[in-house]
């Protein structure tokens, strides 16, 4: 049997890699991908705890997170497309005027 | 998990793999013969009796052709794309029940590799991952026709996946399970007949769902009249324009694998799977029924391919989003309401 702490450790590692990516990367799409990575790290924690405690709530939480991630991807990518149309750039530093 | 079980799985997977490869090779032959028959031509009839060795000759030709990688292509993706197309196409077969169970060597062997709780979702997931092969092939070739073909086909596959999924949910509501084996057994003789002779196949409960499923499945497999991704007259060969040799053959094969997947899904979900008369006495007949039903469907697909003209791209998208998706949601609501009142 794989102990609980291994799952939690892996999810912490994935979350950290995602957070590091948000820090380092300047490309809007890559930052977005790193946010998805962080969400997945948290999802693993929830599913692991749900499995080990025998309570289905954690998995429902993951279900909701996935739904929100889908909504977020749709809106976020639409925003990226319209910023790219106006500024011809994917750099987050170019989008600093709080408007399109 | 014992060694026996592991051995059984390995043998089953091997046998299914072998049968599928042979079937796919011969489907290309059957397709051309059917095309010839429908369009009053002859079709391949030179290699061997009735041209039966034609697939073999084609295979040899594919192997000996020069394998070209375009200079401007992004190499790794170009190499990965055919594999990304064919592996998901093969993966879905492990959950499809080909028959009930037979006794061989004193051991009861079920004619499906495995069954699990979310088999149907698994097939949908694996099918949706199949888009990557097409997208990557289109992008990595660095060719405008490939890119357009790749974009078109990924948009088409994503759009029609929705109505495909929504039409399947109707069956789920009727059967109350995502496990394909349970769905097939629920349509069997053990659950009785309507009016004494009509089998309890889902097609009689979900006729509209089946029509939506059928149209979306045809679009998912990129066949005429939905073959926009490789519309020869406009896009050369669509996303695999730049591919040659065995890599081209892999795309070709993955399309036929998808064809077999969707036809076996149509059989399993709507036409009672391997059910038929006398399977209790002769379990081996179940396999025959399944293969027969699948081949009838494949024939219908080919028939449509060689009699219908191609859609225009905007018509295709309008059909998917404005007709099939609302219709499938309406079907879902009606089904759910009826089930609520019947139970």
């Amino acid at each position: 049997m794989v102990p609980l702490s291994w799952y939690l450790g892996l999810s912490a590692l994935l979350f950290t890699i995602g957070a590091m990516g948000v820090f380092i990367k300047r490309n809007t799409i890559t930052i977005f991908l790193c946010i998805e990575l962080m969400l997945n790290g948290v999802n693993l924690t929830l599913v692991a705890l749900s499995g080990f405690f025998g309570d289905v709530s954690g998995q429902l939480f993951v279900f909701m997170v996935i739904a929100v991630a889908a909504a977020e991807a749709a809106v976020g990518l639409a925003i990226i497309i319209s910023i790219f149309r106006n500024r011809e750039s994917l750099n987050v530093d170019d989008a600093d005027t709080l408007k399109l | 998990m014992t060694t026996d079980q592991l051995l059984e799985w390995t043998i089953k997977i091997g046998v299914i793999f072998f049968i599928l490869l042979t079937t796919v090779a011969y489907l290309s032959y059957v397709e051309r013969r059917v095309a010839g028959w429908i369009q009053l031509r002859v079709g391949p009839n030179r290699v061997g009796p009735f041209g039966l060795l034609q697939p073999l000759a084609d295979g040899l030709k594919f192997i000996f052709k020069e394998d070209i990688i375009p200079r401007e292509a992004s190499k790794w993706l170009y190499l990965i794309a055919p594999a990304a197309a064919i592996i998901p196409a093969l993966m879905s077969f492990i959950v499809i029940p080909f028959g009930s169970s037979v006794t061989l060597f004193g051991r009861e062997i079920t004619l499906h590799v495995t069954r699990f709780d979310v088999a149907l979702l698994y097939i949908l997931g694996v099918g949706s991952v199949g888009v990557y092969g097409v997208m990557l092939a289109g992008w990595s070739s660095n060719n405008k026709y490939s890119l357009l073909g790749g974009l078109r086909s990924s948009a088409q596959m994503i759009s029609y996946e929705l109505s495909l999924g929504a039409s399947i949910v109707g069956v789920l509501l009727v059967a109350g399970s995502l496990d394909l084996v349970t769905i097939v057994e629920a349509q069997g003789a053990t659950s009785g007949y309507w009016l004494g002779f009509i089998p309890k196949w889902n097609i009689f409960l979900q006729p509209i769902g089946f029509i939506i499923f059928f149209l979306s499945a045809m679009a998912e497999t990129n066949r005429v009249p939905f073959d926009l991704p490789e519309a020869e007259a406009e896009l050369v060969a669509g996303y695999f324009t730049e591919y040659s040799s065995m890599k081209f053959a892999m795309f070709f094969m993955s399309e036929y694998f998808h064809l077999i997947t969707v036809t076996s899904m149509a059989t399993t979900l709507y036409f009672g799977g391997w059910n038929g008369p006398f399977i209790a006495e002769y379990p081996f007949l179940s396999l025959v029924y399944f293969v027969l039903k699948v081949f009838i469907f494949i024939f219908i697909f080919m028939w449509i391919r060689f009699t219908m003209p191609r859609f225009r791209y905007d018509q295709l998208m309008a059909l998917g989003w404005k007709v099939l998706l609302p219709a499938s949601i309406l079907n879902l609501i009606v089904t759910a309401t009826v089930i609520l009142f019947v139970n």
Partner: protein, 169 residues
């Protein structure tokens, strides 16, 4: 046996996640992220959360990342645009901060008391099957479910409005 499987899967997941950062072209990053998603789906199966594992593949690998790749291909940005220079200063700040975060997380994990996974009894519906998730979703969590539906509708409309060009009918 199970531990070895976990280690293989975990290595794949972490390597794919690191590759997201290493690659300069967002297309390769997105493709690499598929590896992490698939690996996590396997871990979910190991945790007996079959339904979530299937949803992970269908939604993440089959829809969200396809959308990302679609947008990257559609934008067709020039190469230098796609590979914006990384800011060197931030990188030197990021690595110690990441180390700190990781150290903190591992300290917490190290303090976690290990418990055994509950055994599924015969005739009892296991946690994680479609049945158990469905029952919980449509009874106890009905309101969040409906809110999620409204959220998805809002996202749908918002995406259409945002991505539409000015003057499109």
């Amino acid at each position: 046996m199970e531990k070895a499987l976990f280690i293989i899967i975990a290595v794949i997941a972490v390597a794919a996640a690191l590759n997201v950062l290493i690659q300069r072209n967002p297309l390769y990053s997105a493709l690499s992220l598929i590896g992490t998603m698939a690996a996590l789906s396997v871990l979910y199966v190991m945790l007996r959360a079959q339904f979530i594992a299937a949803v992970q593949i269908v939604v993440y690998a089959g829809a969200i990342l396809v959308l990302f790749i679609f947008v990257i291909m559609l934008l067709n940005a020039p190469k230098q645009q796609l590979q914006i220079d990384k800011q060197k200063g931030l990188r030197y700040l990021a690595i110690p901060l990441a180390g700190l975060l990781l150290a903190e997380a591992f300290y917490v994990v190290w303090r976690v008391q290990d418990i055994a996974m509950p055994v599924v009894k015969e005739g009892e519906e296991a946690v994680g099957t479609t049945w158990s998730v469905g029952v919980a979703l449509f009874t106890h969590y009905l309101l969040p479910f409906q809110v999620a539906g409204v959220l998805l509708l809002m996202a749908l409309i918002g995406a259409v409005v945002l991505a539409r060009r000015e003057g499109d009918k």
